[in-house]
Each structure stands twice: as structure tokens, then as C-alpha cells.
């Protein structure tokens, strides 16, 4: 475990953007590389109880940001936060976790492995002294640091009373950009994010939008090479892509295949990284 260090307001290593917010923390305790906190960063936050869609979006958004060398900031909570960190660490990206407790405490405890992954190249940050326990009132306070570190904040998925909306409010007060990932309007867990869009947040129609927003040139990057698919695979993949969230039964009925065939093709497409299954439904992964 890295040594816990601290940096005071006004010192050289103090995260640059935090200097400009209304009530910057006087001292920050951290583990890892503090210079990362002054790099261009984007916060990716959302609901703890995330839907498969939310997890997918968080993961791949972070993947995209990492690809262009943008650091990802989040809160290391369950759900969207965890997937945001994972998307970065799995793809050689750098990521900052801002905690609502002392940096020596792993909360939630089940994220211990993730915390270690983050520390390999990233940063764990908190305004609380080591040993201070995670209590509910500390998290909204913590959220101002998440948004304060970043040029922009992306809300991936949020219910109506989600804590991620507090982060969005902080970002707005600090004059930072707010982005939101749109969700289906018949899904309760997307109300929060969709409402932000209504209130003026920038919707991310595709992940590349955020790269354009940041003013990074995408032309130099190579596009995904096409993956070879068989005829049956292509048919099923196209159907799922056209219809979004579907069940195996839907695929069977509409492609005229037996469940046995569909199930085995879905597995193969899952292995190729094109599909994802969860809670009885099939999603597009790429």
C-alpha cells in the first residue's frame, strides 16, 4: 500500500482546477500520483443501482476517454462509478477516485481489488483525514470535489433523487460543463439523466461527442476494424442492433431460429465482444 500523503491549498501540487471553486478543501489526503489531478479530467458518475445499460455506458465511455488520454474521475461507489473506473483501468487509462471517507478506508469493501487496480497508475483522493468513516452526509460534500477537479461531468444514469444529480448541481455552480447520457424514457432509472438534458446538459449521442467537445482531434485515430461474422451470426446481430434490448424469445420469433441455435450464437457473439447478456435480455456491446 502506498504511503498516504497530503497537499495543502496553495502548494504546487494542489489540483489546479480546484483552486477556482467556491469552497476548496484546505488539505487533500491522497495515495498515488497527485500530478494526475491537474491533468485534463472528465468525471463519469451515476446511480449505484445501475441497469446493464448504465454499466455498459459507463464502461465504454471511460474506455473512449482513456483511448484519447483523458483521465476519468469518479467516486468508487457501486454501479456506474465502479464501471467508470474499470473502463479506464482495463484500457490503460488513468483514473482518480474521490472518496467520502479517509483514503485508507475501502468503501464499499468489495471494491478492494478495484482500489488496488486504480492505485497502480491512478490516484485516490479525499479531503478527510485517514480513519474518518464513510457517513451519508460526507458524500454530497465529496461530490463538489469530483466536479471541481474536472473540465466536465458526465451523468451516465440517475434516478430522480440520485446523488449524481448533486454532482451535476456542483458542476453547474462551478461553471463546468455538464453532459448526460440519454436513456429510454420508459425506464425509471433514466429520468434523472434525461431531465438534465431538458435543463440544458449536453446529451452524448455517441461517445465521440465528448471527445469533440473537448476539442481533441479524432482524425488520427484508427476506426474499429470490421469483425467477420457468419450468415446466421450476422442475421441475429443485425436484428439485435435494430431493436436494442431484446429477449432470446424475441430473437427466436423474429429470425425463425430455435432457442438452442440462438443461445449458442449469442454466446459466440458475446465472446467476440459484440453482445452482452444480463437479466434475461441481450444488449449490443459495441
Amino acid at each position: 500500500m502506498d504511503k498516504i500523503k497530503k497537499v495543502k491549498l496553495g502548494e504546487k501540487d494542489y489540483p489546479e482546477l480546484l483552486n477556482y471553486i467556491a469552497n476548496p478543501p484546505a488539505i487533500l489526503y491522497y495515495q498515488g500520483d497527485i500530478t494526475l489531478a491537474s491533468d485534463p479530467l472528465i468525471a463519469v458518475v451515476g446511480a449505484r443501482k445501475a441497469s446493464p445499460y448504465g454499466k455498459w455506458a459507463a464502461y465504454h465511455l471511460s474506455e473512449k476517454l482513456s483511448e484519447y488520454g483523458v483521465g476519468v474521475v469518479s467516486g468508487m461507489a457501486y454501479g456506474v462509478d465502479s464501471y467508470a473506473h474499470k473502463g479506464a483501468v482495463d484500457n490503460n487509462g488513468r483514473t482518480v477516485a474521490v472518496l467520502g471517507c479517509g483514503v485508507d478506508i475501502c468503501y464499499p469493501a468489495s471494491n478492494r481489488a478495484l482500489k488496488e487496480e486504480i492505485l497502480k497508475t491512478g490516484l485516490i483522493l479525499s479531503e478527510y483525514e485517514p480513519g474518518i468513516p464513510p457517513l451519508p452526509f460526507r458524500f454530497p460534500m465529496r461530490n463538489r470535489i469530483i466536479s471541481g477537479l474536472c473540465i466536465g461531468t458526465v451523468i451516465v444514469e440517475a434516478g430522480l433523487n440520485s446523488g449524481s444529480l448533486i454532482t451535476a448541481d456542483c458542476a453547474a455552480e462551478q461553471g463546468r460543463n455538464i453532459y448526460a447520457v440519454p436513456g429510454n424514457i420508459n425506464n425509471v432509472s433514466s429520468f434523472g439523466a434525461n431531465k438534465l438534458i431538458k435543463d440544458g446538459a449536453v446529451p452524448l449521442i455517441v461517445f465521440d461527442d465528448i471527445i469533440d467537445e473537448l476539442g481533441i482531434d479524432r482524425s488520427g485515430q484508427k476506426r474499429n476494424q470490421k469483425i467477420e461474422l457468419g450468415e446466421d451470426e450476422r442475421k441475429i446481430y443485425d436484428y439485435i442492433r435494430k431493436n436494442g434490448e431484446v429477449t432470446t424469445d424475441d430473437v427466436c420469433r423474429n429470425t425463425g431460429r430455435q432457442p438452442s441455435q440462438v443461445n449458442s450464437i449469442v454466446t459466440i457473439l458475446e465472446m467476440k465482444g459484440l453482445l452482452q447478456t444480463s437479466l434475461g435480455k441481450i444488449f449490443i456491446a459495441k
Partner: protein
Amino acid sequence: MYSQVKSGSLYGLNSEQVIVEADLSPGLPAFNLVGLPDVSVRESKERIRAAMINSGFPFPSKRITINLAPAGTKKEGTHFDLPIALGVMAANGTVKKSVAASFAFLGELSLEGKLNRINGALPLSIGLRKNGIKKIILPAANAAEVSAVDDILIYPAESLGQIVSFLKGKEEITPYAKQLEQKWRKNPENMDFSDVAGQETVKRAMQIAAAASHNLLLIGPPGAGKTMMAKRMSGILPEMSYEEKLEVTKIYSVAGELTEEQPMILSRPFRAPHHTVSGPALVGGGASPKPGEVSLAHCGVLFLDELPEFSRYVLEMLRQPVEDEKVSISRIRGTVSFPSRFLLLASMNPCPCGYYGDATHECTCTQNQIRSYLSKVSGPLLDRIDMHIEILPVKYSELAGLGLDPDQDGFLAKPKTSDELRREVEQARAIQLERYHNEMIYYNSQLTTGLIKKYCTLDNETKKLLENAFQKLSFSARAHFKIIKLGRTIADMEGEERIRIHHIAEAIQYRSLDKMYRGI
């Protein structure tokens, strides 16, 4: 004045012969019963006295001593009424000793002198048959049940008076003739898989489970049809063999679950204990051990609806019966073992409120509640469940029997009936029986690691897929063998000798809980 007649006593599913000795001697009138009778046997004195007098026979006013030999084992059950009464009458000279000694007797008396139905008649008769007894007099209500035993003459009687007339040669009782089994076939609710609209994927999974007795867990929100489909499960299992029917009927006989309308169990049992069930009720128990739900589900389906609602202590008790296919209950008198080879079918919601992952209802559970709910079924019990699949509510168009989405080009497959599904299951079972005829196992779900190596070889391409799946979906080690076993079953359903890549690929889809645990 001494006499002896034969009867039997029951312990667990085993019975042994009991000689009922009766002795009448001069002295103050008394009725003593020795040979470790329990309360139900000791009370028989009062029933016998009233029944004899009300049937018009004299009750000897002598010192009556009854001994149930062997005197060292405990006896229980009301079926001793009739042999004791006959012993007294033989000693008294009402019937001839030699005639009474040529039969075995089982039956409970009413005060009026009528014979009442008894529990455990089938295993008792099987035990008597083993001791070389060929003629049994028992209550008419039990005759059909016992007729399953070959090579034995059953004399069904209605009353004590009738038996005495018969033994005196005044009246004829014709031995019970075996009835056509079909008459008792139980299909009260007429449940068929063709009633279930849509859900083709779940049906397929259930069929695979049936084909090799894989234990199955259904996960889905309320109203998805979990219970409806589970109830139809026993209908797609293959027909029971004669030995299986006899074994199951024995268990039901001991448990007192047979009726006159259903004296034999001919179709596979389906047991669905409520989640408040106690441990002994589930696995069996009691001072004199009685079979529990797991044994009553022997050869059939044990359905545990709302699995995480069962108490953890009760679920842990399931481990031995599922693993060993029998329950051993130890008591001071000895150890009783009841068979329990069943297909475990369980259902659960994805979270405590039931709507996690549902697009139309908001799930009100916290992440921690969902985790603790899922973790209730984790560990050793989950280790014994081969397949888990998610089940979602059907759409209206499917319910209405249209079978297609109105705004999409669809095709409509007529749902298969239970009979059609069962025929395919039977074919797959036949393949397995032939393959394993030297291995002391019946079907793929019983394969051990060693046998998997012997019978489930995978080609390189398939091995690569499996390896890939492990990394991508982060499956546990325990999932590895289960997927191969499932792949074996899927191949058998297609009549394929080799396990192909698409068999394994399909099997991977039936391990959804592994994926649920993967999510943070």
C-alpha cells in the same frame, strides 16, 4: 390357552415380521400388552374389547397377556388391532388356531368392529412376503395399494365379523385381483406445456434439465410464469419404471399420503413445500422417522418457490439429500434411510421487491439488499444447481396466442405439448442409459470429474471457446464442469456422439447467475 398369529412392524421403509402371541389364563380379568408397544398400540386394548363385543363375540373375562415378538424392538401403528383381536379369539377358541396361523393380519378396528385403513400397508406386505407369507388379510381400503406386490394373496375385509366367518369357512372372501393401473393415473389439473404462451427459451432449458435431471433455478420478476411452468415440469419427465413406482408408493404409504382414490403413485411426484417449511418436514424426521418432502419427491420434482425466502438452516439441510440421493436419519433404534433422488427446481426473484432489471416497475431495493438477497443462495447449495436461467414476463401479443409482434415480421411456432417434449426427453435418456450401463449412474448430471474426462471429450476449437468464456465472463471453476455436463446433455438431445462447439455455446447461456455475481 395359547395362540399365535402373524403380523408385521415398520421402521422407516423396512418392515419385519412380528408374531402376536396371546395367552389366556385364569385369574382376575386383565388385559396386558408387552413387547415394547407404543401408545398407539397400547390403546388398541380398548378398541379390541369394544369391537369384539359389538361384533357379537364374547370377550374372555380372563387374564389376557399379549406378547409382540421379537419383544425387544419398539412397535407402533394401529395395524396391530386386528392381529391382537384374532390372537385373543384364537386363544379363546372362537376361531381355529391352525386356520388363524396360516394368515398374516394387518388392520385397525373401529369400536363398531369395522376395519379402518392403515398407513404403510405396502411396505408391511413387502416385508411379510420376504418372510415367506403368502396370504394377508387386511382392510379393503388398502387392497389396491398392496396389489402391486407380486405373488401374494390379498383378502380384503370390511369388518371383524366378516373375517371370523371367513376363517370359520362360512363366508368366502375373494382375493383381490390386480386392477388396471390407468384408473388411478392422477392428472387433476390437466397441466400441459402447450398452455404456456411464448417462453420458448425457458421451455428449452426445462427440457434439457429433464433430459438429464439437471437441477434448475429460474430467476424472474413476479408474474413471469415461473410457478406455472414449474408445475408442468414433472409432465415432461419420462415415465417411471415399475420398480420406481413401487418404491415411490412405499414412501407415500409410510407417510400416509395414499388414498383410496389414489392407492398407487403412477406419475412422477411434484412436491412444492411452502418456504416456511421446517427442517424435519423437508428432509424427514420425528421420533419414529417419517419421510420428508425430499423423499416424497423421490423420482420426481422438488419445487422450491421463492428459494431465498427459505430459512438458511433449512436450505443447508438439502445438501446431503441432493448429493447422496438418500436421507439417513439416526435414532436410538437405529438408522433409517429414505431415498431422495429428485430433480431440484427452484425459483427466485432477482431482488427482494422483484423488479430489479424491469423496465416498467421501479425496483425499490438498495444495492445492499440485492446483494444479500443473492448471497442467500450462494455457496454450497448453488454448487449443486447446474442450470440457472432468467425468465421475463411474456408480451401481450404472445399471451393472446398471436405469437407475433404485430409490427414485425414474425413467425408463429405452435407451442409443443408436454407429450412431444417428453418423447424427446425419453430419447435422450435412452442414449445416456446405454452409455452409462457399466458406470452405476443413469444420467449426465451424475457424472463425476473422472467420468467427464472419459465421456466428454472436447475438440480444440470448443476448448478455446470455453477458455475464452472463462476469461470474458469470469466464470468460477465450479461452472467449468457444469457447462461440460450440460453440453453433453444438449448433444445427447440431438443424438450426437461428440460434443460440438454449439452445444457448449448454448450451455454457457444457462449459467446466468455466474454473470449476475460478476456485476458490481
